[in-house]
């Protein structure tokens, strides 16, 4: 286990893509301390901002309020990162394996363009979760992102595969230009959910304002939802799928594209 304890808040956000199990797996303690981090345009060292314990491990714990530490877990393929406080932007961007666990809040661009692995945020996250960076055709290509709190704009924008589940409310443009995959909105969303959606599934457990280009198709409990539910259940997220308890109203869209996606809105029995 390698433990990094933030001892000094950076004056501007720190670019710390070196904080990744792939980087630290074979490094000595001294080598980890000497790894470069960028404070604006200046190159500094990890030890300028962190106390470092341990060596040669793909298990990393980061302690302290790292909300200004960007790119933690960038492009990681293995191992585990545990952040006991908050984490900065681009957490787990481009990752393809391993797991990241944040007890506090995340920021924007969590899991951007990731292709595998698991990210869990206990608190809130920002916008553009699992999204494509500007100009890229595709966002998240696989993997799982779970957020315990709420999230911001453009959750899952241009994602192609994988699952994003957010317990709290999200803001506008969830699933913008979605190409596939599944977004679960535990507490619904604000406006323009699914705008320009091509494929994929947005599941909302609360009522959701829908754009007029989404058209009603059916009310049922889709079979695949039980598979998702079993998967998310193992990760501590509950997705209702019992016909005794209710059903999903399915809306197809975004017909303005035209898209073959769907928005499923949970309606409890008797409601």
């Amino acid at each position: 286990m390698i433990t990094l304890t933030l001892k000094e808040q950076p004056s501007v956000p720190l670019e710390a893509e070196v904080l990744s199990p792939d980087v630290t797996a074979e490094l000595s303690n001294a080598a980890i301390r000497a790894l470069p981090v960028y404070l604006g345009k200046r190159q500094r060292r990890v030890e300028d901002f962190f106390d470092v314990d341990g060596a040669s491990s793909d298990q990393i714990t980061i302690k302290g309020d790292a909300s200004r530490v960007k790119w933690i877990g960038r492009a990681m393929t293995r191992g585990q990162i545990t952040v006991t406080g908050n984490a900065g932007m681009h957490l787990g961007a481009y990752m393809s394996g391993g797991a990241i666990d944040v007890s506090g809040n995340g920021s924007d661009w969590v899991g951007a363009e990731m292709s595998g692995g698991l990210i869990r945020i206990g608190g809130n996250a920002g916008g553009q979760i699992g999204a494509a960076y500007r100009g890229s055709n595709t966002g998240m290509r696989d993997g799982t992102i779970l957020v315990g709190g709420g999230a911001g704009l453009e959750v899952g924008m241009r994602m192609k595969r994988g699952i994003i589940a957010v317990r709290g409310p999200v803001r506008d443009f969830a699933g913008l230009q979605m190409r596939g995959g599944t977004i679960v909105l535990g507490s619904g969303a604000e406006l323009r959910t699914g705008a320009w959606m091509m494929r994929g599934t947005i599941i909302s457990l609360r009522h959701l304002p829908l754009m007029p280009t989404f058209l009603y198709s059916a009310t049922y409990v889709p079979g695949f939802l039980r598979i998702c539910s079993a998967y998310l259940d193992r990760l501590g997220f509950t997705l209702p799928c019992d016909e005794q308890e209710g059903a999903y109203r399915r809306y197809t869209g975004d017909t303005s594209v035209p898209g073959k996606g769907e928005i499923l809105i949970w309606v409890p029995r008797g409601a």
């Binding site: 595969r161 596939g180 059916a218 079979g223 598979i227 998702c228 769907e262």
Partner: protein
């Protein structure tokens, strides 16, 4: 040297079984009844690869807690000569009998098998481009829109090498005794996982030999050495002791050697009932099949 079990002679012989290719298909439905209905339909007309192209049967009924989607289910094993044949047969059978049956979903029962047969990946075309796929936890599923709602089927099913043709021959004093013993044996074997008994009720009343002596171009014909009413005819060397008047065979296909051994062991024990004279097994002198199951080894 002769051995006995529960007063029944166990012939010192062996069953000769063959390489096959198998898949496990999990069918779930809204109720156990509907899962069973789909499974029975799927495994119909699947007694022998020779005439039916596959051998298939229900391995076990599954409680809801044991299935991928948490609904009651059935586990079906399908055996074919080779991977390509297996693939084609799976598509045919799932397509004609599971896809068509109300409330079913269809999942792969060999998730760790590296070799895959494309099943949902073919059946999805029934959706006429209205279908959609979903990848969850690294597995791809197809959602095919149907009048009843949606049919969910996994894209690929694992296939593995397997064994077909383990068997027991029950030689008894009369038909009733043979049948009672065979039924008891089948009940015992059905508790074993990893095997199916492809013939009707698990039992073969017309055990066969390869080819024929008096007709050309026959794949199989009656095995006269074990037919009680042929005993005494000129030129027939009967294998039947004088007191035997009826023989029934049980054929066992299994995912591996261990499963067949387990089934044959419990089956052998249960078959040694009243009126049973001998338990034997069918083979081809060890010349055709790679897998030999010696009956006496099962007694140890």
């Amino acid at each position: 040297m002769g051995r006995e079990l529960h007063g029944v002679e166990i012939v010192d012989t062996f069953a000769e079984a063959f390489d096959m290719r198998a898949s496990r298909v999990i069918i779930t439905a809204a109720s156990e009844g509907w899962a069973r209905t789909a499974a029975v339909s799927m495994t119909g007309f699947a007694t022998s690869v020779i005439g039916c192209k596959v051998e298939a049967g229900i391995e076990a009924m599954l409680p809801a807690s044991d299935t991928p989607d948490g609904r009651p289910g059935a586990s079906v094993l399908v055996f074919a000569f080779n991977a390509e044949g297996l693939s084609t047969r799976l598509v045919e059978r799932v397509g004609q009998t599971v896809l068509t049956c109300p409330t079913t979903a269809c999942f792969d029962g060999l998730p760790d098998a590296p070799e895959r047969a494309t099943v949902g990946g073919v059946l999805r075309h029934f959706g006429d481009k209205f279908q959609a796929s979903k990848v969850v936890d690294g597995r791809r599923y197809w959602r095919v829109p149907v009048m009843e709602g949606e049919f969910l089927v996994q894209e690929t099913f694992g296939t593995q090498s397997a064994i077909g043709g383990g068997n027991l021959l029950i030689l008894a004093k009369d038909q009733a005794a043979a049948l009672a013993a065979a039924e008891a044996s089948v009940d015992a074997m059905r508790q074993v996982r990893g095997v199916i008994l492809p013939f009707p009720g698990g039992i073969v009343r017309a055990g066969s030999k390869v080819g024929a002596k008096r007709y050309k171009n026959m794949t199989a014909s009656t095995n006269e050495a074990y037919c009680p009413t042929v005993r005494g005819r000129l030129g027939v060397a009967s294998e039947l002791p004088e007191t035997v008047n009826s023989v029934l065979e049980i054929v066992i296909d299994g995912v591996d050697r261990q499963a067949i051994e387990d089934a044959m062991r419990v089956g052998l024990d249960a078959a040694c009932g009243p009126g049973v004279v001998q338990i034997s097994a069918g083979n081809y002198g060890g010349k055709l099949g790679k897998h030999l199951f010696k009956l006496h080894d099962l007694l140890n």
